[in-house]
């Protein structure tokens, strides 16, 4: 008997049964809902994001600032670029990393960063991710001063931005540098964790689940010394959220 068969047989017998039975339908868990149910929630969330953008943006901005994001609401790409340039100046950044999110091109982030005199790197291997490349990009991330990303989703309930690491979006760019800037479009804001996980379940059931997902809600923090909250124990000490609203 394998370790698995033996282990599960023990569990079955502890449950007072002789064989594994499929659980009966139970309304408490979403496990028995079909893919259409998850898709309906996910689709509705996106429709709401488009039609309720103003309300969702207000709630997002408020929730985010309560948990430590420095929130900047801007009405055009130039203002967003100015804010990025200012942060680079303030931090005296010499090395900045960015993801390949479209919104960063829209605000012309490259020009903003280079105008401040910092060196800009893009976290993209273009498919050539051998071990040497990966080691190089890790050490680049650990020595960078600022990491800039877009957001795949944002959650108004909690002030969270959601990132699915992939080609062009490294896991480290929002984690290793001491400052993280996230640029967000109102159409990416969904109402709550319910809609987010409905999306994920929909992706899973249609075979498109990402390799991993990070929910980022403010700076890295700890209260392990005498209960005093301190930011920046392992991840960013300072996080900026730029919300690019339409004119």
């Amino acid at each position: 008997m394998t370790d698995r068969a033996k282990f599960i047989a023990n569990v079955t017998s502890a449950l007072g049964r002789t064989e594994v039975i499929a659980p009966p339908r139970d309304e408490s868990t979403a496990a028995f809902d079909d893919v259409e149910t998850a898709r309906a929630v996910a689709d509705r969330a996106l429709a709401d994001a488009a039609s309720n953008a103003v309300e969702l943006t207000d709630r997002m901005a408020e929730a985010a600032s309560t948990i430590g994001w420095k929130v900047h609401r801007v009405s055009n790409p130039e203002n967003a670029a100015d804010i990025v340039a200012n942060i680079c100046d303030q931090k005296g950044a010499t090395s900045v990393l960015r993801s390949t999110h479209d919104v960063l091109d829209e605000i012309n982030v490259d020009a903003a960063v280079t105008s401040s005199g910092a060196k800009l790197g893009v976290t993209e291997h273009s498919g050539d991710n051998n071990e040497t490349k990966i080691t190089e990009s890790k050490s680049a991330a650990f020595s960078a001063d600022i990491g800039i990303t877009g957001a795949d989703y944002a959650i108004a309930e909690t002030g969270t931005i959601v990132l699915h690491p992939r080609s062009g979006l490294s896991r480290l760019v929002s984690l290793a540098p001491p400052t993280h800037i996230a640029v967000l479009r109102p159409t990416e804001i969904i109402d709550s964790l319910d809609e987010l996980f409905a999306h994920e379940r929909n992706d899973h059931m249609s075979g498109n689940l990402a390799g991993s997902m990070n929910l980022i809600s403010g700076p890295s923090k700890t209260a392990d010394i005498e209960g005093t909250t301190v930011t920046g124990i392992h991840g960013p000490l300072e996080v900026h959220l730029i919300i690019l609203e339409n004119d």
């Binding site: 449950l15 659980p23 991710n129 690491p165 964790l193 010394i225 209960g227």
Partner: protein, 479 residues
């Protein structure tokens, strides 16, 4: 980890006179307990969420065999490996063998109570591998060679000065003590290099999702993210109960876990890992291993009175709410899990006879039940365990009561069950015990109740019985 449950009384007594530790433990109440109350108060459907969380866990545990199989299938489908460990020794061996096979030099550990059951960090170090705890509290505990004091705040009993002695290489007795920010930044500097060179990580699991083979990690510090990003091998270890059926159940479970643990609406980072990195990703572990451990949990599962304890999501709320935990501290409980939930699972997992003092150390006030995000009825289970130590219900070996104790209670029961017997008992006690009392309390009683008065005073029956007084009154009224 070897249980030291027999030393509960000595450890508890030490803590109760340790002013510094008692002061540190205040934070458990002012920070965590009040934070949870406030967060719950600000959540409109809080009770509904707790009921839903309980229903999800009840369902999962009732079909745990099915969901374990589904989880393992899906982790493998995602490209990960699964190992089922019957006990801590098997789990430890799997991780050690893997580390050697992959020629691992540095392991970063994220906070995990299951890895404490395995005593994993020390085992890796003994095998010549650098193993560093990366949660700040755990790191402090590792530097001072202790075990965690609390489920989510392992170093809550440490003063800033003690932390400075451990973290600050330049600190000399008498120097002004660095503040929390300075100390945290020192830890950041020390741990950054470790993160960068780590080639393997060991993390716990907050929730494993059966339908997708995902694991979820909740951290404020970001060490969970480092662990799932930098090293080439990621090993997640979990107790077999940490499953939920669906990805969509995560919204409920995260809401109740995080509010109950720290009072936050959300932690800084929630990470969901669905296997090793995909081929086009920039970085991330090449290998993902999930170790699912039993280590005695099937005893909890098979025991219908105790099964509910497997619903626990390890938030620590019952510790924060417990007036006993806040006075005796985390180390008194003698094993991995302190507080009310520890007083329930530790006796079953490590042996009730040695741990008989744990379920006894409760006022049964019910604060743990009120605080629990999945409404585990801890007082009921504490009473059940006390019953077993007194009467030895399932197994005579669990009984710790002495013959004398049982005889006294048997006599008490007989005496209380009949009018005549009660009157005789009261008269005897009035006759023999009252002369020994001071101010209505017996401070030192003769056998067979001398055991009682060694730790508390014995109350006395009054000089005349209620019946006698009533009789007297009614006679007066008639005359």
């Amino acid at each position: 980890m070897k249980p030291l449950t027999t030393s509960f009384r000595t450890k508890a007594a030490e803590t109760m006179v340790d002013e510094q530790v008692l002061q540190s433990l205040e934070h458990v109440y002012t920070g965590f307990f009040k934070g949870r109350l406030e967060a719950a108060g600000n959540t409109d459907n809080w009770e509904e969420l707790r009921d839903k969380g309980k229903a999800i866990k009840d369902h999962t545990i009732a079909h745990l065999d099915y969901y374990l199989g589904q989880l393992a299938d899906n982790v493998e489908k995602n490209g990960g490996s699964v190992f089922f460990a019957a006990d801590a020794a098997e789990a430890r061996k799997y991780v050690l063998d893997l580390a050697h096979a992959r020629n691992i030099k540095t392991v970063i550990k994220s906070k995990s109570m299951v890895s404490e059951e395995m005593a994993l960090a020390q085992a890796l170090i003994d095998d010549g591998i650098e193993a560093v705890e990366t949660d700040l509290g755990e790191y402090i505990i590792q530097l001072s060679d202790e075990t965690p004091y609390h489920l989510i705040a392992p170093a809550v009993h440490k003063s800033r000065k003690e932390v400075a002695e451990l973290l600050d290489d330049n600190y000399v007795e008498g120097d002004p003590v660095p503040d929390a920010t300075e100390l945290t930044m020192m830890a950041r500097e020390k741990l950054r290099g470790v993160f960068e060179r780590a080639d393997m990580s060991v993390t716990g699991v907050n929730f494993a999702v059966a339908e997708s083979g995902s694991i979820t990690l909740v951290t404020n510090e970001g060490n969970g993210r480092m662990s799932t990003t930098v090293p080439r091998v990621h090993v997640a270890v979990m107790g077999m109960e940490k499953i939920i059926p669906s990805i969509q159940d995560l919204s409920t479970m995260l809401r109740i876990l995080i509010r109950s643990a720290t009072g936050q609406r959300i932690s800084s980072y929630v990470t969901m890992v669905n296997g090793p990195r995909k081929s086009d990703e920039e970085e991330g572990p090449e290998e993902f291993h999930l170790v699912i451990m039993d280590n005695g949990r099937q005893k909890l599962l098979a025991d219908e009175q105790m099964r509910e304890s497997l619903n626990c999501i390890r938030c620590g709320a019952c510790l924060n709410a417990c007036p006993v935990y806040r006075k005796v501290g985390g180390h008194a409980y003698g094993w991995v899990y302190p507080g009310p939930i520890g007083a329930i699972v530790t006796p079953v997992l490590t042996g009730l006879k040695d741990a008989a003092n744990l379920p006894a150390a409760s006022s049964l006030c019910g604060a743990c039940h009120d605080a629990c995000p999945v409404k585990i009825n801890m007082p009921r289970m504490l009473l059940e365990l006390r019953y077993r130590t007194a009467e030895g219900k399932t197994d005579k070996d669990e009984r710790t009561s002495t013959t004398r104790e049982r005889t006294v209670w048997k006599a008490w029961r007989i005496g209380m069950m009949g009018r005549k017997r009660f009157d005789i008992g009261a008269r005897l006690s009035r006759l023999f015990l009252r002369p020994m009392a001071r101010n209505g309390w017996l401070k030192k009683a003769p056998p067979p109740i001398s055991g009682w008065t060694s730790t508390r005073d014995f109350p006395l029956v009054s000089s005349s019985s209620l019946k006698a007084r009533l009789n007297k009154r009614s006679k007066k009224a008639k005359s």
